[in-house]
Symmetry: C2
Subunit: 186 residues, 2 copies
């Protein structure tokens, strides 16, 4: 009877964790993270100790290659970090459990990548179109179209400058002055 | 000579637009939007008039089905809107050009979807684990594990409550009181 109850409790715990892992993976899927990477993060979230690549591989039945790539994606996004443990030669990994932090890191990384990509492309394009709009050799219709595009891209640049300041406020945690964390966590 | 210059200018304009469309698609790709949907948005962004599905299909060489799905994805994300034009029976679509607005809509929609999904799963799971943690039939080890999971999930719920307030500040545009738009756009 004891053994059965133990199993029931353990099974119940596993069922709950499975549901939450599923939800975490679905949520990450909204931002283009694959299901298996989402499930890996979810699994690590419920571990109360860091794991080696081999342990994760065994737990999830993923190949070594896809496990390495997945862990790499999660460490790049700062959702998982490598930890050091005295006396262990293997790399150990643990989930970042502070979701305020994972949120800030995830979107700061994505947004900054988008910002620099776009600012570079827009700046170069505006310069080229300004030359075209002034060129007396270009057709009137083309010059007008160039002017319209310049206006659009300047508005876009201005937006990216704003987004840059939003990311600054995330990284400096100033955002929590505007939208405070819940009291019970301060 | 005139014809050549006209072509040159037009070609230059097209090359610039192509580069920006490429960048827009790459940027949207960071959030799991496929390349062809990103390119569709980019193409519409540079049109200075609304387009029908047939016109878009022709411009991008996509199939009717995948064009409909792509336009649906973009309208769901409020990046493209259906417009009405007197005397036209066909549906017309145009890109939302205000990137502050597309940013707010895109992330509000994604975040709210994640928030409700997670709050539902976490709330249900906490209730179940609280029952388990109190159950005298459950093993000590299981009850301790349940307690730890409850603490983690309560922290997660608290974070989602904060995220909800962040999205509120986006939708109410209060965020611009904290991080003001650039002067030249006010």
């Amino acid at each position: 009877m004891d053994v059965n109850n133990y199993m029931d409790g353990k099974e119940q715990l596993e069922r709950v964790r499975e549901r939450v892992i599923e939800t975490i993976a679905k949520n990450m899927n909204l931002y283009g993270i694959t299901d298996s990477i989402g499930r890996l993060y979810g699994m690590l979230y419920f571990q109360n100790h860091p794991m080696t690549l081999d342990e994760m591989k065994e737990e999830l039945g993923m190949s070594k290659t896809s496990m390495s790539t997945s862990v790499r994606t999660l460490t790049d996004l700062k959702m998982v970090e490598k930890v050091w443990k005295k006396g262990t030669r293997k790399d150990l990994y643990q989930a970042e459990e502070d979701w305020y932090q994972t949120f800030i890191d995830f979107f700061s990384i994505k947004w900054r990548a988008g910002i620099s990509m776009n600012i570079a492309a827009m700046t170069k394009s505006i310069l080229e179109l300004e030359r075209l709009a002034k060129s007396e050799e270009a057709d009137e219709e083309v010059r007008t179209a160039a002017e319209i595009d310049i206006t659009k891209m300047k508005a876009a640049l201005s937006y990216y400058e704003w987004l840059n300041r939003l990311v600054d406020s995330f990284e400096s945690e100033e955002i929590f002055d505007f939208i405070p964390k819940n009291k019970d966590e301060l």
